[in-house]
């Protein structure tokens, strides 16, 4: 029996639908993640990264690093 016989009997086309569900779940996960309130300061800082060509220590930095 060849591998293709085994795989052929597995009705692989439903994989596509399973994958669709998995990927949609991941999408929802990312969505929940980005709306987390406590991440707001980090996103705020990250958004400013392109604008700082030189490193400037920020007031909150030391504390954040614990």
């Amino acid at each position: 029996m060849k591998l293709s016989d085994i795989m052929g009997a597995m009705a692989l086309s439903t994989y596509a639908e399973i994958a669709l569900v998995i990927f949609f779940a991941i999408f929802v996960g990312v969505l929940i993640h980005i709306f987390r309130r406590d991440l707001r300061p980090e996103f705020e800082r990250a958004g400013h990264l392109p604008l700082e060509d030189d490193f400037r220590p920020e007031p909150g930095d030391a504390k954040e690093n614990g």
Partner: protein, 733 residues
Amino acid sequence: MATALEKFRYDDDIVRKFTLATLIWGVVGTLAGLYVALILVMPSLSFGLPYLTFGRLRPLHTNAAIFAFAGNAVFAAVYYSSQRLLKARMFNDALSRAHFWGWQLIIVAAALTLPLGITSGKEYAELEWPIDLAIAVVWVIFAVNFFGTIAKRRERHIYVAIWFYIATVITVAVLHIFNSLAIPASATRSYSIYAGVQDAFMQWWYGHNAVAFFLTTPFLGLMYYFMPKAANRPVFSYRLSILHFWSLVFMYIWAGPHHLHYTALPEWASTLGMIFSVMLWMPSWGGMINGLMTLRGAWNKVAEEPVLKFFVVGITFYGMSTFEGPLLSVKSVNALSHYTDWTIAHAHAGALGWNGMMTFGMAYWLAPKLFQTELWSKKLANAHFWIGTLGILLYIVPIYAAGVTQGLMWRAFDETGRLAYPDFVETVMRLVPMYWVRVAGGTLFVAGAVIGLVNVIMTWKARPATYADPEHEAPALGVFEEGSPKHEAKGFAWLARADFHRAWERKALKFSVLTALAVIVASLFEIIPTFLVRSNVPSISSVAPYTPLELAGRDVYLEDGCYNCHSQMVRPIRAETERYGEYSKPGEFVYDHPFQWGSRRIGPDLHRVGGKYPHLWHVRHMEDPRSTTPQSIMPPYPWLLKEDTDFAGIQKRVDVMAMLGVPYGDAVNKAEALAREQAKQIAAEIQAQGGPAGLEGKKIVALTAYLQRLGTDIKKAPAAEGGQRQATASGAH
């Protein structure tokens, strides 16, 4: 935690190199485009030379535009922004140089080999195996250099632009390697290990994702860095950019099959491609809005700053193209648009509008910084913007019109139920005026590219005697902390916890591995069933391998890039079966290494051309297409009647095919003798039909043999040795 500041300098020299290369190749690539546009309206411009035909120069144009112009622009953006976002010099200067010169050498090699007809015959992946190997090596050099820089970075958070670059570096490597797998028959000829449907699937998995990960994600990285820089504002919503990224990475990879609607591809695969393509609307428009809204409160700057003008138009074209792409992937729209100029218009809205405008915007922003002087002429930059934008519009509007016009003409029936335009050339003639407008639009865009190059070179001339090389400071990153103490996750609460994603964002390696996994798993989900489910490629017992001579003729077909204008895929649509004959079945292509379905019908489909005309017709038609079809826009191929078929090389080619699993039987031992025998017979028939004598050793005979074979196998009675496969011949009706 106080850390000592480290001192470092950025390597801007490499960015200068890539930026200048971008602009130079931009002129070359668009000029090549203009030339092929002209050939279509003035076929005599190919001067009867093999090197100047549309079939050979169009791949040169697309390769130059994508890999030379856009490619160098991507590298310039990556090398400039990564160093600054990561607060580190590139990992290794020697690797940077090797990357730059290696890539330019590859481009030169492409520019030399494609006009010579050295091609693998797969769209957007035409370069032959030695160049493919070089691309893989240079890409690995780039990857090591890039990931090495991330490893020694001094900024903990990896900015979203870098994520887009990471996705690019990983995915392009995967795409390039798997699509290019081929067995060489000589230094200049190799055959794809995949055949027919599977090759088509791999090719458009590659082709689609080359658009996604070579022309979209790196340019989004560029947008997320340079747009905030030029507007002097942070991106509108960092959250949206995260969503944008993950949605693209998870969805884009699925959408490839939409390039093959109504072809011999399994229905479920193309439906899946369609669903994911439509879902792409969300992140794409999110990204467009994010880019444009970065200008909030700064729209007044757009009026005076050419850089912002380029970016605004570029991002707008991103929105338009990503709206149109999913639209084209809807099957009923695709039935009309496929094989027409609609695709060409869509591609150029994306390439000229999105990639072109973003690149020029970046170049104008970079030039004063890199050359440490004022931009030579802001006025000229503004002129470039207007000329370029007008050029794009003059290009795409008539070509959209041409696409819809031809699509409608192909499917038009008269009141008696017959094709309204049975003569294919009628539908071509209708387009010629629109092709002339495209030439005008293309000329403007080329003029803009030249202006851009001149402006930047003049800026470069005004550079200081020695560049200032300022020292920067930042604290080193210590050992990563795992962030705040772990929270206890209950049930699905972990989904809502940020730590998992925050850790990815900070840990480049983990992040890259996951991106790669997303891409590879999605690809496998898509590809494996096509390869392994038997019913997807029904075998047809009467389909036999090409004879050695036909194989040689097929090589001529590949070399001259016939697939650039002719499809070999009759779709199961009444207008097509009326025009061309029986629709194409997957099982008919099982020996096609590589597949030659094509993507545009500038000329008619050829899948059922076998036996349609006498041999002599093909000889006359190749010698001068206008002797058989007076209005034809096909270039003449007179050299096919003069150049000799490489009989000595045929055995090696047959051997490679046999190695790939094509059941050649006897021919593996005496391919050359079989080929000579068939050539003699065809040459005699040509002479009997009143044609010239002495053609038997010429390429025209091999090509004629191949064309006369096309699509004829299903009309034959099943051969005896095919009996064992008959049981699964469900696709043969």
